[in-house]
């Protein structure tokens, strides 16, 4: 995005969470390695999100998880309320 250098502030101010698209998720579980503390596996091998709201180190871990997913099933979305 053109003025993305200002987006850093916004990311800190904004509140984020991770959303798993269950249709895209194939259970590769790479997000668990990349985003430990934020993601865990259920008993069938699919990821569950542990944190309802991502703060500080968790936000960075979530970014890594989103990036690592081979099927693009994870999304970081801003919490609007």
């Amino acid at each position: 995005m053109k003025y993305s250098r200002f987006m850093g502030n916004r990311a800190e101010d904004g509140r984020y969470r991770v959303v798993v698209d269950p249709l895209l998720c194939e259970g590769y579980a790479i997000c668990i390695l990349a985003g430990a503390d934020v993601m865990d596996l259920d008993e069938w091998g699919y990821p569950v999100v542990l944190e309802k709201e991502l703060i500080g180190a968790h936000l960075n871990a979530a970014r890594r998880a989103v990036k690592a997913c081979p099927t693009g099933a994870l999304k970081l979305v801003e919490i609007t309320s």
């Binding site: 959303v19 698209d21 269950p22 249709l23 895209l24 998720c25 259970g27 259920d42 008993e43 069938w44 091998g45 699919y46 569950v48």
Partner: protein, 435 residues
């Protein structure tokens, strides 16, 4: 033509008023389909309101969707962007095996539904209305007949198309319908806003049959009249279907004034004492004990107060001579089999849950299994693209609470004497006419 939904005849006893103006008033339902001439004589033509006037009317009415989630109709309509030609989809795919209120409306009052669809089309600027239903030959014939009656009167706007979708519990979910109309696969999608990005990218308004029928009457008789029924928070009348152990399973009735469960069950189900329990809202709904419900109001508001959804209006009666855990297991097994098979936690989790329920019903499960079940429920809730798994969680969770004393005995290896009953209290296949 007479209705082949046989027990429907019993609906006639249900407070129906020949001269009234509510959804099920007018000629007896046992008379079959109400044709255009009778429909117009009885209710008169609809005033030709502008889209803006309709949107204002719907907002003032407070009408909530009748497909199960109760989403405000005005909000849904206003989420359709104007300027791009929108599409209206009449959702007539009533997939709950025990519910038949939408089938009854389509079969007995097709013009009420088509009028409502025309109103919705005007409100969002749509020229085409698709009437989507399961491949039910009986309903298809009635709908095609009703459409040609309208054409014969020169009513060509909007254009109605009839589309028959596949069977299947989740194929009536609104994003699954949009998917079917695009690709032929009726599978739920994740967080797709069909109002903006609907069929082939067109804004698409998917509305339940009953919701649309209300619109037809709202335009004719106005907001004040509409709000005379129901409550301030949940205005308008509500249709409901009686199921399970009653004199007349399949009876569809209309709740105009909030009425107690006891009164409804006495007058419509022929009960004199509270049943063991009631299944409310649908198969993915909630159990409530008969004793607790008896003096409560059967209304969306009073159910919401205790965390129960009115859903599709199913009122399922569990008799004293049935095991609630066993019936829950049967329904959970049915629902597990109806997963679209897209989301791991759903297609793997639901059979695991229903499996434990079956073991529990047979008295073969332990306290440890109950803990395992609890963990699986929490792993499944909210994990699907659609709310199908959430429905199973609601069903099972409420069963564990309502049938807690039975459960304690089952866990000790002493199942209820009725746990072995070979037949299900509630139907486990969809009612579809293929003749």
């Amino acid at each position: 033509m007479t209705l082949n939904y046989a027990p429907l005849v019993a609906s006639d006893r249900a407070g129906h008023v020949a001269s009234g103006r509510r959804l099920l008033d007018g000629p007896a339902l046992s008379m079959g389909t109400e044709h255009m001439a009778s429909h117009l004589t009885r209710l008169g033509p609809m005033e030709d309101l502008s889209g803006e006037a309709i949107r204002a009317l719907v907002t003032d009415s407070g009408l909530g969707g009748r497909g199960g989630s109760g989403f405000p109709t005005a909000k849904k309509i206003s989420s359709i962007p104007l300027g791009i030609e929108a599409l209206v989809v009449v959702n007539g795919s009533e997939s709950e095996p025990a519910s038949r209120k939408d089938k009854v409306l389509l079969a007995a009052r097709p013009h009420l539904v088509l009028d409502g669809a025309a109103v919705a089309a005007k409100a969002v600027g749509a020229k085409t209305v698709i009437i989507y239903h399961h491949a039910d030959n009986f309903l298809t014939d009635i709908l095609l007949g009703a459409i040609s009656e309208r054409k014969a009167l020169g009513q060509g706007d909007p254009a109605f198309q009839v589309v028959r979708g596949p069977d299947g519990f989740v194929s009536g979910e609104s994003s699954a319908i949009v998917s079917y109309l695009e690709s032929g696969a009726a599978k739920p999608q994740f967080q797709r806003r069909s109002s903006v990005n609907g069929v082939n990218g067109r804004p698409t308004l998917v509305q339940n049959v009953e919701t649309l029928a209300h619109l037809a009457l709202l335009v004719r008789f106005g907001v004040e009249w509409f709000r005379e029924a129901g409550t301030a928070d949940h205005p308008g009348s509500y249709l409901a279907t009686l199921a399970g152990s009653t004199d007349h399973p399949g009876t569809v009735f209309e709740v105009v004034e909030p009425t107690s469960f006891g009164r409804i069950l006495t007058t419509k189900a022929g009960l004199v004492t509270p049943p063991s329990a009631l299944l409310i809202g649908g198969y993915g709904g909630s159990w409530i004990s008969g004793e607790r419900a008896w003096n409560m109001l059967f209304s969306p508001g009073s159910l919401a107060d205790i965390g129960i959804s009115y859903g599709c209006g199913l009122l399922g009666v569990l008799p004293k001579e049935a095991c609630g855990l066993r019936e829950t297991a049967r329904i959970a097994t049915y629902l597990a089999g109806e997963s679209a098979g897209q989301c791991g936690p759903c297609y793997l989790g639901l059979p695991a849950i229903s499996g434990i329920m079956e073991e529990m019903a047979q008295g073969r499960a332990s306290r440890g299994d109950l803990k395992v079940l609890g963990r699986k429920l929490s792993f499944v809730l909210g994990r699907g693209a659609c709310s199908h798994p959430d429905g199973v969680v609601s069903l099972v969770d409420s069963a564990l609470e309502v049938f807690a004393s039975d459960l304690a005995q089952h866990l000790k290896g002493h199942p209820c004497e009725h746990a072995q009953s070979p037949s299900s209290v509630f139907p486990l296949t969809m009612e579809v006419s293929r003749r």
